[in-house]
Symmetry: C2
Subunit: 528 residues, 2 copies
């Protein structure tokens, strides 16, 4: 049962007066539950509880935190069909997608549990004393990562499970030892409350302090603003629009004590099609890309919104095949009338720019809130001079740019804003003939892909999901994969600290058996 | 020979009209050389050259960059007495200090060279493909650190060698593969130019691209502001005052593309004296701390400016011994009339606060620009309620706070701003009786020291020099030790990338023999 209330720590509370409903885009009707936005007092209480909880939580062993994360994963699965049905009614996405995303969410939580049990993620670094060093003795120094403090997570509209309430940001922050306060996304407030109930239950089951997690309802910007400005909040995770992310970044930077904001924002994910590949595989590539552009109704941050090629027969063939293939795909529902509204507006604006030609647009009647996929094309020289065309159109849309020559292709890539991904499609040995293009692409993105599609973000340690601004506000950290834990920690040094008072990770005996860098060498052996 | 000009890449240029001189505080006279401030055109040219240089420099092997850093170290030593004499004439510091700091600078450069030759610092992480994974195949993903781009370094007034032109920030950024533009500190512009000449010479000798390093003269804020706002600058390192560091942080955060600013700023470095230690060792501790407070005329960011104890006989004894010991020390010269002016002002203001008592102040005549060391004391309840007393007095000054009880001590520590260090002085087994105090202290600092002094910052991997704001603008990174290289890099992922096009660090054969995390295990073996 969804209550519509806020979880302030373990307690369900709703003393506010502002209420709202989530929306079923397929039925084009509001869902039943009325959600009550958190009041300023409730927000304060959540942060204060998190601050208190941090005192204990930050000292908990990896084993204890791992048990907590696994209990959350189990709890999410136990929610069963109610979770899947709520998810579908709040997103218009099919149940297969809901199940897949639930699987990903559970996998992420368990990956962090595994990371914690193994324990070496704290990057323990030890330089032992040299009492007889001249001219002055060297003290014993030991360093490891410790948690930052309470973290605020803003759920993503397009990932109600994997990047919201118990998603990647939350899992990483809890793993680090940071209490989490979620600003629930209003579009999937019910999904959020269900997942929050699993987290709160898991926290109780595994003996976590009250306040280690809170879930706050919010329909506008007020709850988020108050959270980011609260002096006890020490970091923020966000997935969403550039405007939203930048606003939070600016708020956080203007605080008396500035705090990091990890905002993963927009990206057009440029794809470069090299000539030999086009000559050999235009039709196959067109089919693959028609699928990637329309996957999840184009509502992925890694959607290929910009395709770059050298003008010529090969690219013409590709455009014509892509137009055919993309029109074979059945239009699907977008997350919310506001999202499809923005899609239509941005598409109309992009299509209306001088020199832009529509090469494929689904024209038949579609069901309510279903998006018409669209492909457009433009010359390199026009694209180069019109920054409006460099902007993301969030949805099943892609723009093919026909560059005059390699020099123009490189110039265009250099002018792009920062991107999450860049993709190169090439025949064997072809890519090495374009070192300048590859250099330029690498400089603008966080992940570079060879002969694949940018959609599909693998959850593994070597994933970098992020990129130069505005793809993310901090290109130095990933939002996906276990290394995302590094966003929520700071290194801390102990000098000449007594062994008995050191955390286990740094004790001479190495009771956790973790890998440590001792006097410049990695080892899991104890120190004598 | 010091020319007074700017190094714009390899070229000595001075087309500006604004000139200034450095100052000899011992003679109380300006030094001879006239320095010409960089013009807006010269600044632009330096950044453009750095941007061009980055294209090649970022791809250079660890071996090549190591040779460059070592050539810089050799070049600094070859400057011989001219460097030491210039240093002394621009700082008023003794030649022993100059030589010691030169040794530290050279050691830092060589440490980074060693790190580069070993090579594992790039944190190579590889997850190999699983083509038959269900429901979808897993792609090959490989991640490593790559440099951010051109970096601006603001030299520190109090470390003309180790934290200025070729200091820790510069060495770390060059090691990472980032070209460096130094905004020279006006107080030691001559020292800066000499060191810059060694860097430029080393760059030529070792085949580095022109623009990998520039040194810009500057007497006011204009040069720094233009540098931080330049769109091609990708990160900033700064050591100095809170006002200066925060101003740069705010400028960088307000850019269209925000960039990281690593500012290492003020700190009072609280020291907690526990009762048993005071009972047993008040006199010895007083002697040690008299030395630490006056070391380098108190001009260290780790100077112990705040000493906390529980009111009682032990603390009274300590105060009385400290007063005696500190007056035995000969006053020494401060860096510049402006620095001693600020010291006198801040001291007067701190001493004038209600309830503050001066317990020791050097009263005899002192030479020009020599600072009178001072110790004051105040009760815990007054200190707690007067934030003015929490601020740093940069110089040979310390305030002893007499706390009523442990609860008040903890409350005071919790209210402190972020600090670089916290120190606990205790007898065997005593510290464990104060877990709340230690928790509170850990929460406010970057490094915690047991039975030592905060001055003396060891250059080693396990050093964390930094701390919660305002000790630094980003507590997640150290400014000292080889791990400071992490400030200038971002992780980057290659997906399904052909082996021949991967950087050596990620190739299957592991030609560099570095330690890599392959499928969750650290290994230096090749991948089959």
């Amino acid at each position: 049962m969804i209550s519509g209330k806020n979880y302030i720590g373990e307690q369900l509370i709703a003393q506010g007066e502002k209420t709202y409903h989530s929306f079923d885009p397929k039925l084009n009707l509001p869902n039943q539950t009325s959600f009550t936005e958190a009041t300023p007092e409730e927000i304060n209480r959540a942060v204060n509880l998190a601050t208190e909880a941090f005192q204990d939580f930050r000292t908990f062993s990896g084993e204890r935190k791992a048990a907590f994360l696994e209990a959350i994963a189990d709890g999410i699965l136990e929610l069963g069909d109610e979770l899947i049905d709520t998810y579908c009614s709040e997103t218009g996405l099919p149940s297969g997608r809901a199940q897949g995303e639930r699987g990903r969410t559970v996998f992420q939580l368990r990956s962090f549990a595994e990371l914690l049990r193994e324990g070496s993620w704290v990057e323990a670094t030890i330089d032992t004393a040299i009492p007889d060093r001249a001219p002055i003795p060297k003290a014993d120094l030991r360093k490891m990562n410790i948690p930052l403090g309470p973290v605020v997570v803003f759920g993503a509209s397009n990932f109600p499970l994997a990047y919201s309430t118990a998603g990647g940001d939350t899992a990483a922050a809890l793993a680090a030892g940071c209490p989490v306060i979620v600003k629930s996304h209003p579009m999937h407030a019910g999904t959020g409350e269900l997942v929050a109930s699993a987290i709160v239950k898991a926290a109780k089951q595994t003996g976590m302090p009250n306040g280690v997690f809170s879930n706050l309802n919010s329909s506008g910007i007020e709850v988020g603003v108050q959270l980011v400005k609260h002096p006890e909040v020490k970091a923020v995770g966000f997935t969403g629009s550039i405007n939203g992310g930048r606003a939070l970044f600016d708020l956080a930077a203007a605080r008396e004590e500035p705090i990091p904001v990890f905002a993963e924002m927009g990206s057009v994910n440029p794809v470069v099609l090299l000539p030999d590949a086009l000559d050999r595989r235009a039709s196959e590539l067109a089919k693959t890309y028609a699928g990637s552009i329309t996957l999840g109704t184009g509502q992925f941050c890694t959607n290929p919104g910009l395709i770059l090629g050298l003008a010529g027969q090969g690219l013409d063939n590709f455009i014509s095949h892509l137009s055919e293939e993309i029109l074979k795909i059945d239009p699907s529902c977008m997350l919310h009338p506001n999202i499809i509204g923005a899609y239509e507006n941005n598409k109309t604006s992009a299509q209306g720019q001088e020199g832009v030609e529509i090469v494929a647009q689904f024209e038949q009647e579609v069901a309510v809130n279903h998006a018409r996929q669209t492909v457009t094309t433009v010359s390199g020289s026009i694209f180069k001079d019109n920054p409006r065309l460099h902007q993301e159109v969030f949805g099943p849309y892609s723009l093919v740019v026909q560059c005059e020559n390699e020099a123009q292709l490189i110039e265009i890539i250099r002018q792009l804003e920062g991107q999450l991904t860049g993709t190169v499609i090439a025949e064997d040995g072809e890519a090495r003939k374009y070192p300048g293009m590859i250099d330029a692409l690498q400089n603008r993105v966080g992940r570079i892909i060879y002969n694949g599609v940018p959609t599909g973000v693998e959850v593994c340690p070597s994933m970098l999901h992020g990129g130069p601004y505005p793809a993310s506000t901090d290109s130095r950290f990933t939002a996906v994969g276990v290394h995302s834990i590094k966003r929520w920690v700071r290194p801390f040094s102990y000098q000449s600290w007594p062994d008995e008072l050191l955390p286990d990770e740094l004790k001479n005996a190495n009771p956790l058996g973790i890998s440590r860098q001792v006097n410049n060498r990695w080892t899991d052996r104890p120190i004598n």
